[in-house]
Symmetry: C4
Subunit: 287 residues, 4 copies
């Protein structure tokens, strides 16, 4: 169930600066490591904000040179961090080719490429992927527990969701082909892929309105598609809710203590005595 | 509860090539049958992709002759498969008039018709129905279990969903008539069917925006319709989730112990005695 | 919990034609009453269809005189039914002023008014309310059980839903006032009521697109409103689902038989023997 | 869990007019206090209605002077109420800087400011915040119980909802940056913040249609975003429903029997012995 493997990395040498930096980077319970995490999170958020704001034409014209300097500051900082990570882990290549390692690289690579390759300006947008790095850092904090329950429920219902997605795609193709024949290119249903795009937009109740049916039959089929689509789109909510409720219920029921006298099980987590015979229960295990 | 009856077909002769092809087509646990299924799934997906891509005007102009050849290749392959299916089953007519038989026929018929009848080009779109055939093949794989739970919940809540749909249609008619009177043809509410189309689009929160209220009263009624509609549209999600949660719960609780005396199954997890004949049950296995 | 009181009406005379017609109208288990219901349902559906189709300008021009005749046929039929209902019930006035009595009257009144008052054409649309009468007839059939569960859950969560609606209206007013100040009349936010209409349309994820924010601040607030709105709109689904699941669970658990030997309760509805001590259980009551 | 602390205020003097007015303002079970609450609720609703209606240009022109007078009437009434509240509570400053105190002040301040500062007309809209004051008054009534369950479930799922919101923002930033590069300013995706606004509007299925994709790749990504977004937006409904169902279940199961020895409450419905001290419990009441 582990989508991203935790960096179980040991430093090359047990002592010295590698050991110290490994602890700063990978632990979360010492003051230096907390300061490091905090610095990194703020740097990431600030750098993403700069990328976003820099895309606004009016602001770009006025502040371009400032943003250029700031951006290189962030790039050098993240480069230093990346090199440091490579140095302190036992198997640097394994880190470099892990998901997080690639994301770390993508966070700095665009700046260097656009420096050497003049036309690669549009690549700079890749830098917003830096945002994903915030999740790695937050992952080590107290939110992991909640995230675990949410992810577990998602994982448990993966096949149902896949089945649901293939149903949606099938309906989109059939409805799209139908509307392509009925409405035709005159009303924007230019071809089947475009009609499928319309069908997905309609079924998911987004309804941009850039393409709309104009014929009576087309409108009738649209109404039917909406109602069918709505019923089907209730499915993932249903799947997920049911799975989540089950997961939460099971977590809550974790008490497995049995009464030594009557063997009754299923006590409340806080119970001290068996609720059937009144005998004392064993102490609950620490969670 | 079986929406599509499984093809329980026996070959005319117990041995020979019919027997071999029946196994290839209808079994899933031998290497040849797996290869057959895989070939078919890929052929179907490829042919649907060709239909879709061919509808794009730009691509059609450039590749029309290629697509023509490829399409006839698929048609001949599916025709061969259709004939083979007819030959190996015990009752060919029953297969031919079953849902799957008709879908198989619709997968190949449009190509032949458009070959003989010049004006029947728009019929070619029917070929996207081939996609449904993928479901038959996948049906025999491991997804059937998940699909079963989803379908069972859907089937159990069919009456509630029907009731809900008739409620939606009623509200759409009344709201549509109301808006037709209030807004009138000047703002696109040309007649009651059009207004009903608008009401469905609005209630289901699609909101294309091709028809919108302009008068104050119309906007007020729209707001009310949205809120009422939203509350009502929460119903199918609720129905489905509750039913699904129940189905999943029951499945999980299904104790697999059978009574040694009367063979009754489906006891509660905590039961010590068979609830039909009263005989002692075997100890439950540790989960 | 009874939203519409069932017509518990006794005929004035115990025998004769009144008795016979009362049975035909109010019972559902005799062949004549079933034929009566069926006739009525089809007449209602046909008359509503005529009203709908007649509103289409093109069809109206061509078929106006035919529809006029057909419509008067339906009006006379429903008038006869209305008079009959008044005659056979013990307290005609009470029926006349009940919800169903008023709906029955509204089904026929517009035709007569438009006959005498020339300008009352738009009143004719009121005739679509006839559709509601179908529910009375269906109410007496097997769907009542499903409807009961749905209604019970709705009724149980009425206060939560009211609270939710007042939250939505409050947010709509505040967000509407905010957008009115930020965007102003230039971009369609002409006044607070219009802005409120926009806020409801946006929050409920309808999003017509007739009024959209154009300023950066307006777009930011819109994004926030959508996310807040979405979280809040998850509430009625949650309320309803939880209530429905509870209602369905409770219905399923209705078995209240206790074992006469060990007193254990909570057996399955189909259990014949106590699952704790194996003693025979009393017969379950008929539901 | 208390979002708004209840006004636990004692009057400066135990007797006299302060005591009487404190009771009128803060109690709900005496006839004068009920009349006071009712008067206030109606005054608030009326004053908000005036603000709303006054924003309609056509009405403003015709009724401006009347609204001016009425508005000052409300302002004076609410000012009197505000002063009264300050006078009767033991710690006026604490009230003045509480959430409710600030809302009470905001309800009257705009009128006075716009009287002295000519250009502050747009500030008058702040007066719709008066509406929030209705909740304080209703808070003291029977709806508090329902509100409590809803709020408790919301509070319990706060971390999951926060996690969900950060997921939505992350996806919006990445999808926004992607669409900015693919579609570009030519089709309205002028910059990343605008693209993010589009991504939120699309993911939440609002779909205004003011900005829509035009390229094939853009439409493909939009379809993917909608499906991913829809699956993710099912999460808060799932979280909330599961939490609400759990909360409602727990409330319903709360056995009201207290242990006669240790006073512990909240036993399971089927418990025979106190699960804290092991003493026998009284027999449960019949439900």
């Amino acid at each position: 169930m582990r989508l991203f493997s935790a960096p179980q990395l040991n430093p090359a040498s047990e002592s010295g600066w590698r050991r110290r930096w490994f602890d700063i980077i990978h632990r979360t319970d010492t003051p230096p490591s907390r300061r490091f995490d905090l610095l990194l999170v703020w740097a990431i958020l600030a750098s993403v904000l700069v990328v976003m704001v820099d895309s606004v034409q009016r602001i770009h014209v006025a502040w371009a040179s400032w943003f250029y300097v700031v951006e290189w500051g962030f790039t050098l900082l993240f480069t230093a961090e990346y090199v440091l990570r490579l140095l302190v882990v036992r198997r640097p290549l394994r880190y470099a080719f892990s998901i997080w390692g690639i994301i770390d690289l993508l966070a700095i690579l665009p700046s260097y490429i656009s420096f050497f390759v003049p036309g690669a300006q549009s690549l700079l947008v890749v830098r917003v992927l830096r945002l994903l790095r915030v999740f790695r850092i937050l992952k080590l904090t107290r939110y992991i527990e909640e995230s675990g329950v949410l992810m577990l429920a998602l994982w448990r219902s993966r096949r149902k969701i896949l089945l649901f997605l293939s149903m949606v795609v099938t309906i989109a193709i059939i409805a799209g082909a139908l509307m392509y024949v009925i409405e035709g290119p005159a009303y924007g249903f230019s071809n089947i892929p475009t009609s499928m795009y319309w069908a997905v937009v309609t079924m998911a109740t987004v309804g941009f309105g850039d393409i709309v049916p104009h014929t009576t039959l087309g409108r009738f089929i649209t109404s039917a598609l909406i109602l069918v689509g709505y019923s089907i789109l209730a499915v993932p909510t249903g799947i997920y809710t049911a799975e989540l409720a089950g997961t939460m219920l099971r977590e809550r029921r974790q008490d497995t203590r049995g009464c030594v006298v009557c063997g009754h099980e299923g006590h409340e987590a806080k119970a001290h005595y068996c609720n059937r015979c009144g005998h004392e229960l064993p102490e609950p295990l620490e969670p």
